[in-house]
Symmetry: C2
């Protein structure tokens, strides 16, 4: 245990020492079998990984440095000990990657589905905090990485599960099973004060556009041709006779960062890109005074599809 963990698991509660001059950043997110994952095609290790990843992604979106996590588990009798161990290993491996300490938790049995509820705690200096509320007209809209991979990976897994085919590999499937929370990107955006607003892409790009625009009191126009979608995803969507942008706009589970940045801060933005290395960052739109949510493509400009909830 690191020195700032005063008391880890084993007492009535965990005790940690806050980082001087920082705020505590707190988030909780649950993964329920049959809602957020399907044990028939999500391996136990990936279940554990995802349960922590979705929370670290929330901390990343605040510009916070992750520190500790609490794990609350509801275990059905059907969960084997070996699967339990792999689940925990998956979670702990991701925790180790990001220097996160599991300081406590709770285990109960349940007559219902497997459920993992993680609370993650991070630290952020006041001036580095990222929120959803700071987007202003004229800001540029960006997203890290590529979008739609996880949703198309999930579709491939579901398809294989339905047809009895061998489970596919590939980057989309891997992105769905083991999303990489953009912890470093979030911290660099905060540290360099390069983003005017930020949110993680958990429920699709359209949802981000709607949430950030609403929280900031602005509109956003996306450039369809700029949205970063891999050839794999485009090919898969074409094969299934669907629009190439659908998983990016309305799919979930990408856990990239969506953010806005002032044109005047392009120097800061370039610093982030340099420090970040390989992870691409793509400009996909612009913040507008008129509070419309629009998608511009070669046919013209239309209202942005309603998003994730709509498509399910």
């Amino acid at each position: 245990m690191p020195s700032w963990v005063v008391l880890g698991p084993g007492d009535d509660a965990a005790v940690i020492r806050p980082v001087r001059g920082t705020f505590d950043v707190l988030t909780t997110d649950a993964q329920v079998e049959g809602v957020h994952f399907d044990r028939r095609f999500v391996p136990a290790g990936a279940i554990g990984h995802r349960a922590l990843a979705v929370n670290l992604s929330d901390l990343a979106a605040m510009g916070a440095s992750p520190r500790a996590a609490l794990l609350s588990l509801a275990l059905p009798a059907t969960l084997e000990v070996a699967a339990f161990d792999r689940m925990l290993d998956g979670l702990l491996a991701l925790a180790a990657t990001h220097g996160v300490t599991l300081v406590g938790g709770n285990i109960t049995h349940t007559p219902g589905p497997l459920m993992l509820d993680v609370t993650a705690i991070g630290a952020v200096r006041p001036r580095r905090l990222l929120t959803r509320t700071g987007a202003r007209p004229g800001d540029e809209v960006y997203v890290t990485g590529t979008l739609g991979d996880a949703a198309s990976g999930l579709q491939q897994l579901q398809e294989a599960s339905r047809t009895g085919a061998a489970f596919p590999g590939g980057s989309g499937v891997e992105r769905y099973l083991r999303p990489e929370p953009r912890v470093r990107a979030g911290m660099l955006l905060g540290r360099n004060r390069a983003a005017s607003s930020c949110m993680d892409v958990s429920d699709g790009l359209a949802d981000c556009v709607r949430q950030v625009a609403e929280a900031s009191g602005v509109g956003i126009t996306l450039d369809a041709s700029a949205i970063p979608v891999t050839k794999d995803v485009r090919d898969w969507q074409e094969r299934m006779g669907r629009d190439a942008l659908e998983p990016a706009l309305s799919g979930g589970d990408d856990y990239e960062l969506f953010f806005t940045s002032r044109p005047a801060h392009r120097g800061r933005f370039r610093t982030v890109c340099q420090q970040l290395g390989d992870l691409p960052i793509t400009r996909i739109g612009v913040v507008t005074r008129a509070r419309d949510l629009l998608l511009k493509d070669e046919h013209g400009t239309r209202a942005l599809p309603a998003g994730y909830e709509h498509f399910r």
Copy 2:
């Protein structure tokens, strides 16, 4: 929202300002329908109350002052909106009593039972922190309030549910439905440095004895005649042909505080009792060097019954 809540619900995570010079105390505890409560006889308001109470009780056992909570809910389709509202009202009423702010959370639907997972965050000054590890031979063993009330209240509710009788009232039932976490007692014990160890009585007295003795590397001998059990509980147990001490030793859900105190610190202890007012504190045993867990009664001294898990 109080001024130390930098960001409440609505962003990717909640942000709070730690109290200068304190540790963060963090705990999470889940309540699962069919495991921790039965919706047939636990009203929705009490479900919400209990979900927070069990966590505040954990903070109390650390000597911490509660500050904030996160609520993660898994809702089955069968939960009506009115019941949801009453559940939340029950939680928020208890939060208001203890000055706790609900800063965030998560809601998901579930194909399984209703589940409420609360994470509570408190603050404690380093020298006021209470743990399970500080009991030393010669320390006196104490408990707040009375024990076995909640377990006998639950038995009465179960009995009424089985027989179709009207649901009973009474203090045991009320204690089960709306336990009062001993937040003030825990804070006073910490502030006055009056306890050498502390734990909340969530799974019965025998469990506390075992846990604190193990964590501290000591033994404990309880005086059966001193264990505070109300006449109501004794009468109920007698009517059911059971031992009067069983619900105290092996029942759960009392949420009193179990603690040890050095004889040399009796002055501090008296200060706590004076400041605490009405809540009785009873001396029920002694800490021993020999690592045995014993119960002394008029027939002699015997091994302490194994506790909660054993009886279920």
